[in-house]
Symmetry: C2
Subunit: 204 residues, 2 copies
């Protein structure tokens, strides 16, 4: 399991790494294609493996679960999110810092179309949404100490304040993406997020 360390570096050094990366891409592309073509639940692992030219066993070695085939690099999302929020200058308010984090994560998507395609799939499939929400919870937990430090008046862990603010920010992001997908990608996602926050905080 050394491929993770290598993946971070720029150029693939050994032949194995290159093969791995190639296979990984092939699997990922095949999966996304089949998912969009015929739906997530209707696509079986066996089919993806067959069309990608690997065995099921190998596919599961690359991606532990079916969800990971769609999620892309969700750990990267989490990393960018916490780093951005944590990297905001001291004195930045909690909401401002969270906004910067959201903006950074949204900027990670390759293109508007790619983002729309993924979000659409995510919103259509119940099981996928559930998985995504669960991952969100982990991000929230990671953000908690960072946000707590930027809020005054929060005393100890028995105060739900910081947790509520983080969860509310994600709720706004969710409302924004849902509206965005419902409107077929019309408008700017970040603008929808801002309007969501404004509605929640009661300042128009």
């Amino acid at each position: 399991m050394k491929q993770e360390a290598k993946a971070a570096a720029g150029g693939p050094a050994t032949l194995w790494d290159r093969t791995r990366q190639l296979a990984s891409r092939e699997i990922l592309d095949t999966a996304l294609r089949l998912f969009t073509e015929q739906g997530y639940d209707e696509t079986t692992i066996a089919q993806i493996a067959r069309e990608a030219g690997v065995s099921q066993r190998t596919l599961f070695r690359y991606f532990g679960t079916k969800e990971e085939l769609l999620g892309g690099d969700q750990e990267r999302f989490g990393r960018v999110l916490t780093e951005t929020v944590g990297g905001q200058p001291t004195g930045t308010g909690a909401w401002e810092a969270l906004r910067a984090g959201v903006a950074a994560v949204l900027a990670l998507h390759e293109s508007r179309e790619d983002a729309l395609e993924r979000f659409r799939l995510l919103h259509r499939t119940a099981s996928l949404r559930a998985g995504w929400l669960e991952k969100r919870l982990r991000f929230q937990e990671d953000l908690l100490p960072l946000v707590e430090a930027r809020m005054d008046g929060v005393r100890d862990s028995s105060d739900p304040g910081a947790r509520a603010v983080v969860a509310a920010a994600f709720a706004c992001l969710d409302a924004a993406t849902t509206t965005w997908v419902a409107g077929d990608g019309e408008g700017d996602l970040m603008d929808l997020y801002d309007r969501s926050v404004a509605a929640v905080r009661g300042r128009p």
Copy 2:
């Protein structure tokens, strides 16, 4: 499939209905006991069925999924929620109406201990949390029109405002229960919810 209609009525009329209700109770109790004893993931359907004295097939006829064995009557939650929010007098603000709904749902729990036990299980098991969050999404969708009507300045479906407020309210509820469980049931849940809302809306 007539048992649903009968269940709404007060007294069980026929012998079948009584048998059904008895079996249902037995399964539910067995499941909850095993879940708390050895954990959700570690408990198999086969074990629950065996100890409850029914076949797996029958168990799945009573409860479509493993999650339903813990969720209790989540549809009832949804019903109470929407009815309460919708039943608030006109002129009541969105946040106020949602607060009333949350209070009504929390009041449904049999006892503090029962609620704590279920929440604890819910927060411990990742797969369960995901399922619960997904159900929450459906509640949010149901509440959307009700809340939209109580907000001024919301124009059409391209405005994420109402959706954001509903999602934020659930986020506050989530923060409250998480804090409540983390503190082993100390304090009042509704009070934690109020403090969460206050933190989000920026009024101390």
